[in-house]
């Protein structure tokens, strides 16, 4: 209940508010272009008060990044029900929605991390912090996909396909952000199809992968994204 009186925020509440404000700013412009003054203004507090909660832009950036990483990792979670193609399609929808929301910040981060170091410490520690966060999200995505495939001890070829597809999804999203020249919905479907295609390439030469692919396809409905792809690909064959 609000009393109309502006109440003082607690320390943790204020920190969380600042992280939210910073994440919003870091998402819409390159983090290098966002100043502490702007963050203070957007949060409605003074510059020294920002420094009271965060020693510098770097620590605020890392906190914002941590929140974004948790958000993104959460988007890979999907109930293990129904056909795999539909599940992946929903996950890709949430992934590209995240990329859309955090465009410039996502680009800056994935292109070697931001150089948020003006006047601050060397970027070395930031690079390892951001790399660790990015890796944690990749690992969460990888674990999710394996769980959906029902595999606990992935053979080397499966690990390669899943991890390289995750990397393909990242780079596809990054390339798409540069101009957004392809409808997002098309990209979501394409990434799901890419997963099927990369798996099929591996399965074409390896019986273990072929068995896995057959098990997945056997559960796909005739009107699902995988079945549609196979029909369309067959029409392309010479």
């Amino acid at each position: 209940m609000t009393t109309g009186v502006r109440r003082r925020m607690g320390v943790e509440e204020r920190r969380q508010q600042l992280i939210g404000v910073a994440l919003d700013l870091f998402s819409h412009r390159s983090p290098d272009d966002v100043s502490i003054d702007e963050i203070a203004a957007a949060a409605g507090i003074s510059r020294p008060l920002v420094y009271h909660y965060f020693p510098g832009k770097l620590s605020l950036y890392e906190a914002a990044l941590r929140r974004a990483a948790e958000d993104l990792a959460g988007r890979f979670e999907e109930p293990r029900e129904g056909p795999l193609g539909e599940r992946l399609l929903r996950v890709m929808g949430r992934f590209l929605s995240f990329v859309d929301e955090h465009g410039p910040g996502f680009s800056a981060l994935m292109r070697g991390g931001p150089a948020v170091s003006a006047g601050g410490p060397c970027a070395r520690e930031t690079v390892s912090t951001t790399t660790a966060l990015i890796d944690s999200v990749r690992q969460a995505a990888y674990d999710q996909i394996l769980a959906h495939l029902g595999v606990t001890e992935p053979p080397a070829r499966l690990e390669l396909v899943v991890r390289s597809w995750i990397s393909l999804a990242e780079s596809t999203a990054l390339l798409w952000l540069d101009g957004r020249r392809i409808p997002r919905a098309e990209l979501e479907r394409q990434l799901v199809h890419d997963f099927a295609a990369l798996t099929a390439v591996s399965a074409a030469y390896d019986e273990e992968m072929a068995e896995l692919l057959r098990a997945v396809l056997a559960q796909e409905p005739a009107d699902g994204p995988f079945a549609e792809l196979i029909t369309r690909l067959a029409a392309l064959a010479p």
Copy 2:
């Protein structure tokens, strides 16, 4: 002709020798673990003499990286003769051979660049130098592929497929380096097949891409890598 007398090297010759020695060391261990003392010892000169040619490890690292980037970009060059599948297979062979030769250095570089900054300047400039070099190699690969496809003004979907495949090749190589659990020759073929598969996925929903794919496939021989893939994929279909 050698006279048996150890002659003094010229400035440029000595610089090139140091770059070669450094590249060799930076390739086989993480660049952070290579000291100027080691480089001096491997080159058979004193530590102060190394500093006479390069102000520090950072500049020597960048020079080594520049040479490696030129080497790698050169490996994408391939005569525009014969079927595309065979050409791509030769290029992938040279690419993975490069990755094999420069393993730890390649990994360190692609995982956010090395933090070669101990006692030196902040990593900020290094990050932008390494990013620019990596981008120049990616662009060289992209230009080569487009030239082989005979395309001068690529539609957005083709650009996305080619660039995202280049990124897939990078990540596949990086993942492979971690344990080398799959034979290299298999990986070379798989990357060529991945290119065909990603193109086919895009072509399944876009007539312009479908035309391009048909034009490529029409020139493929019955015993080429693309034809073999299609046969094997057809055998997988439910």
